[in-house]
C-alpha cells in the first residue's frame, strides 16, 4: 500500500477521490504534509511541506489531519484482504525515507497455485480483495519478501497493480534497478553514490570482500538482497482478533439519524472485511465516546451470523432508540468477533429448508422486526411451573438431545426416528402472558362466578383444583397455584388459578 494515510482517508471518504487532498500530521497551518493525492501532486503540493504551503500551491486543496484510528483500521483491513487468500500474512516493518508512509504485508504464496491457477491469478485475487476493502494496493510476487517489496515499489506510479517475478529471476529483475530502491540507510547511500554506484548491477560487479572492507558489515544485507539470496522465515499465522472500525466525528452528534448515517459506512466497511475472511457479523459491541469524557458501551445481539448491513443497522437503531446516548457523541467504535455462516448437511429423507445463509439473514431480519429474544424455536421449559416455556436458537430442524426421538439407555444415546406421538384432535391451550386478573366469587374454595376482561358469568362447569407448587426456597421465584378448568356462562373454557403467593385469582390460559 504505497500511501497508507491517504488511502485510509479515501477509504472513509470516497467522495474525495478526484479532488486534491493532502493528509497532514497534526493541526494548524504549520502541520506537515504526510501524503498527497495525485491531483494535489499535479498542482505542485509535495509531502514534507506545511499545510499553508500546500494551500498556496493549490487553493482548492482539501487538508485532512491524519487519524490514527482510520490508519489502524486500514492496516487491519489490508491484513484481512491478505488473509482471505492465504492463511499466513503479517505486516512488514515500516519503510524509511520516501517510503515512510507505505504499509507492506508479507503474504505466503506457497501452495496457492491450485486455488488461483497461477501466481498471477493469486496476485490478481489479492489486489481485487484489497480494492474491495477500499484500499487500492499493489501486489508483487517474488522469491523473497525483500525483492517483492522492491517490485511493489516499482509499481507505485505505473498503471499495473500486480507483478510476478518468475522463480530464480530475482537477481536479473533487480540488476537494472537504481540502488535506492533497496532502501540503504542514508550513510550507506551517500557512500555508494560517492563510489559512482547507481544500479544494483553496478554493486554486484564489485567483489564482496572489497565492498565489505570499504563500507563495513552494513553492506552485507544489501548485497544479499541484490543477489536475491535472502532467506526469510515464512510469515506467521496471525492471532485472531476482533474486527474493529472506529470513526471520530467531525462535529458532535446528538441525534440517532446522523449517527446511523455514520454507522452505515462503518458497517459496510466491516462487512467487506468480514466477507474477505469468509465470515459474517456476530454480536456487535458498540462504543460511543461522549462529550465530557463519558462513554456509552452496549452490546447488540445478532440472532444468526449475517452480512446484511441493513439488518444490522436496524438492530442498532432499535438499541439506540430504546436507550438513546445520554450526551453528544464524539466518536463511534464498532467491534465484532465475526462468525462463520453455518453450513448445513441436507437430509436425504426430509424436505429441504432454506439455505443456512438465507435462514441466518431471515432470522436476523425477524429479530430486527420483533426485538431481541423474541425469535427462535419454542421449547418446553424444564420446570413444573404450568406457564413455563423457553426459546432456543432456531436451527432449521436440528434435533435436540432431549427430544422425545432421542432415548437415553445407560451410557448410550439411541436415535429413534419416531415422531412425537400425534394427538391430531388434541384441544389446544392458548396462553395469556401475563396472566389476566379476575374477580372470582367462590363457595368452599370452588369458583362459582367469574368476572374478567375475557370470561364473564356464572361458572357452568368446573374441574379442579390441581395444586402446583415449586421453588419454595426462593423468595422471588416461588409459586403455588390452585388450577381450575372452568366454563363460564358466556361459553368460554378458561384455566383459572388461585395464586397463593399473591392471594389473587388469575386466568393464565384458555382452551381454544
Amino acid at each position: 500500500m504505497p500511501d497508507l494515510p491517504l488511502a485510509a482517508e479515501m477509504r472513509v471518504h470516497p467522495e474525495l477521490q478526484e479532488r486534491p487532498v493532502a493528509v497532514v500530521d497534526g493541526e494548524g497551518p504549520r502541520a506537515e504534509i504526510l501524503s498527497v493525492s495525485p491531483e494535489a501532486a499535479r498542482h505542485g503540493v509535495l509531502p514534507g511541506a506545511t499545510a499553508v504551503h500546500g494551500r498556496a500551491a493549490c487553493a482548492d486543496l482539501c487538508v485532512r489531519p491524519s487519524r490514527p484510528a482510520l490508519v489502524r483500521a486500514a492496516r487491519e483491513a489490508l491484513l484481512d484482504a491478505a488473509l482471505g487468500v492465504s492463511p499466513r500474512a503479517e505486516p512488514s516493518p515500516p519503510g524509511t525515507g520516501p517510503w515512510a508512509q507505505e504499509a507492506a504485508l508479507v503474504v505466503d504464496a506457497g501452495g496457492v497455485g491450485p486455488l488461483f491457477g497461477s501466481e498471477t491469478g493469486f496476485a490478481g485475487a489479492l489486489a481485487e480483495r484489497a480494492a474491495r476493502v477500499g484500499l487500492p494496493a499493489v501486489v508483487a510476487v517474488a522469491g523473497s519478501a525483500g525483492v517483492a517489496r522492491i517490485a511493489a515499489r516499482r509499481l507505485r506510479d505505473g498503471a499495473e497493480t500486480t507483478c510476478v517475478i518468475a522463480p530464480g529471476d530475482d537477481a536479473s529483475f533487480l540488476a537494472p534497478l537504481p540502488l535506492d530502491l533497496l532502501g540503504p540507510d542514508d550513510a550507506l547511500a551517500q557512500a555508494l553514490t560517492r563510489f559512482g554506484l547507481r544500479t544494483v548491477d553496478d554493486l554486484l560487479r564489485i567483489p564482496a570482500d572489497a565492498l565489505g572492507t570499504r563500507l563495513g558489515a552494513s553492506v552485507a544485507p544489501l548485497l544479499a538482497l541484490a543477489r536475491g539470496t535472502v532467506r526469510e522465515a515464512p510469515p506467521a499465522v496471525p492471532v485472531r482478533s476482533d474486527f474493529v472500525e472506529r470513526m471520530d466525528l467531525e462535529i458532535g452528534v446528538d441525534r440517532v439519524e446522523p449517527l446511523l448515517f455514520a454507522l452505515r459506512g462503518m458497517l459496510s466497511r466491516l462487512a467487506e472485511r468480514l466477507d474477505c475472511r469468509g465470515l459474517a457479523f456476530a454480536d456487535l459491541e458498540l462504543r460511543l465516546g461522549l462529550d465530557g469524557g463519558g462513554r456509552d458501551a452496549r452490546r447488540v445481539g445478532i440472532a444468526a451470523p449475517t452480512l446484511d448491513v441493513a439488518v444490522i443497522l436496524r438492530l442498532i437503531a432499535l438499541s439506540l432508540e430504546s436507550r438513546p446516548p445520554p450526551d453528544c457523541v464524539l466518536y463511534v467504535r464498532v467491534a465484532t468477533e465475526g462468525a462463520a455462516v453455518r453450513g448445513d448437511q441436507l437430509d436425504f429423507f426430509r424436505p429441504a429448508g432454506p439455505t443456512p445463509a438465507v435462514l441466518s439473514r431471515t432470522v436476523a431480519e425477524l429479530t430486527a422486526l420483533c426485538g431481541s429474544g423474541r425469535v427462535g424455536a419454542p421449547a418446553v421449559a424444564d420446570t413444573h411451573r404450568p406457564d413455563g416455556h423457553a426459546l432456543e436458537t432456531f436451527r432449521a430442524g436440528a434435533r435436540r438431545a432431549d427430544d422425545r426421538g432421542v432415548r437415553h439407555t445407560g451410557h448410550q444415546l439411541t436415535l429413534e426416528d419416531a415422531a412425537p406421538s400425534p394427538e391430531p384432535t388434541a384441544l389446544a391451550v392458548r396462553a395469556l402472558r401475563p396472566p389476566l386478573g379476575a374477580q372470582v366469587r367462590s363457595a368452599g374454595g370452588t369458583p362459582v362466578y367469574v368476572r374478567s376482561a375475557l370470561a364473564n358469568g356464572d361458572v357452568v362447569h368446573c374441574a379442579g383444583p390441581w395444586r402446583t407448587t415449586g421453588h419454595w426456597w426462593s423468595e422471588t421465584e416461588r409459586y403455588a397455584f390452585d388450577h381450575f378448568d372452568v366454563q363460564t356462562s358466556d361459553g368460554l373454557v378458561v384455566r383459572l388459578r388461585f395464586d397463593w403467593t399473591t392471594r389473587s385469582w388469575q386466568i393464565d390460559a384458555f382452551y381454544d
Binding site: 438465507v358 425477524l366 420483533c370 412425537p420 391430531p424 389446544a428 391451550v429 362447569h461
Partner: protein
C-alpha cells in the same frame, strides 16, 4: 442416417420401471398437476376442505375464544412438522404454548416462533419468511391482537408473495380481516364443552367450523369437530 442400435433388454427394463413408478412420472409437455392441499389432521375438516388447506394461498380461520382456532393451527403445525417440513408461527398476542403444541405432536425444533410487537410487524415478518422460502406453513396469529393497523394492501401483497411458494399461509383472527383477499376462509364457533362428573375433568370441546369462502369450491358447509383434552 443410421439409427442407433436398439437394446431390447434395456427398453424392457425401462418399461417396467415406468410402470412401477406409475403416476409419479409425467411427460414433459404435460402440465404438472397442482400440489395437493396440506391436510390439517382433523378428519372432518379435511373432508370439508377437499383434503386440507391449499398451498400458496391465503387461508383465514376466524372465531371467538374457545372456538378451536388454536387447536386447528396446532394440528396443522403437528402434521407439517411431522412430515419433516419447517413451519413458522408469527404470534402477535404471545399466546403460543409450546407444551400444548408438543402434546398435539408438533416437532418444536422445526418451528420458527416470532413474536412481533404489532400486526404490521407480523405481516412484514411473514413476508420475509415467505421470501426466504423453505417453510411449508407460515401462520400469523392475530387473534385477540389490535388489527386496525392491518392494511388491505399489505394482505394483498402477502397473498401475491405466497402464490409463488409452496407454503400454506394461515391467518388466525377473532373476526375475519382479510375479506375478499383470502382464498379460503373458515369461521369457527364453540358448541359445547363436556366435563366428566366423577372425577371432575374437562374431557372435550365440541366446535363447529363453517367454510364461508372458497375460491375453488363450494362454501357454506358446516362440520362439527371434537377436540379432546390430551392425557
Amino acid at each position: 442416417m443410421l439409427s442407433p442400435p436398439r437394446n431390447p433388454g434395456r427398453e424392457s427394463r425401462l418399461v417396467h420401471l415406468l410402470r412401477d413408478l406409475g403416476a409419479d412420472v409425467h411427460r414433459g409437455e404435460r402440465p404438472c398437476p397442482p400440489a395437493p392441499p396440506r391436510p390439517t389432521g382433523l378428519a372432518e375438516l379435511d373432508q370439508m376442505l377437499g383434503g386440507g388447506l391449499p398451498r400458496g394461498r391465503l387461508c383465514e380461520v376466524a372465531g371467538p375464544a374457545s372456538s378451536g382456532r388454536t387447536s386447528l393451527a396446532h394440528a396443522l403445525l403437528a402434521r407439517t412438522t411431522q412430515e419433516g417440513h419447517l413451519a413458522a408461527w408469527i404470534d402477535v398476542p404471545d399466546a403460543f404454548d409450546p407444551a400444548s403444541a408438543s402434546t398435539a405432536g408438533t416437532a418444536l425444533e422445526r418451528v420458527l416462533w416470532a413474536r412481533p410487537p404489532d400486526a404490521a410487524a407480523a405481516l412484514r415478518s411473514a413476508e420475509r419468511i415467505l421470501v426466504a422460502g423453505g417453510f411449508a406453513l407460515v401462520g400469523i396469529d392475530l387473534a385477540g391482537a389490535e388489527v386496525s393497523g392491518v392494511a388491505a394492501a399489505s394482505l394483498t401483497r402477502l397473498r401475491r408473495i405466497a402464490a409463488g411458494t409452496d407454503a400454506v399461509l394461515l391467518l388466525l383472527a377473532t373476526q375475519r380481516i382479510a375479506g375478499p383477499t383470502a382464498d379460503l376462509a373458515v369461521e369457527m364457533e364453540p358448541a359445547r364443552a363436556r366435563f366428566s362428573q366423577r372425577p371432575d375433568w374437562l374431557e372435550e370441546l365440541e366446535v363447529r367450523a363453517r367454510l364461508v369462502r372458497n375460491r375453488t369450491g363450494p362454501t357454506q358447509q358446516v362440520v362439527a369437530v371434537r377436540l379432546r383434552v390430551a392425557a
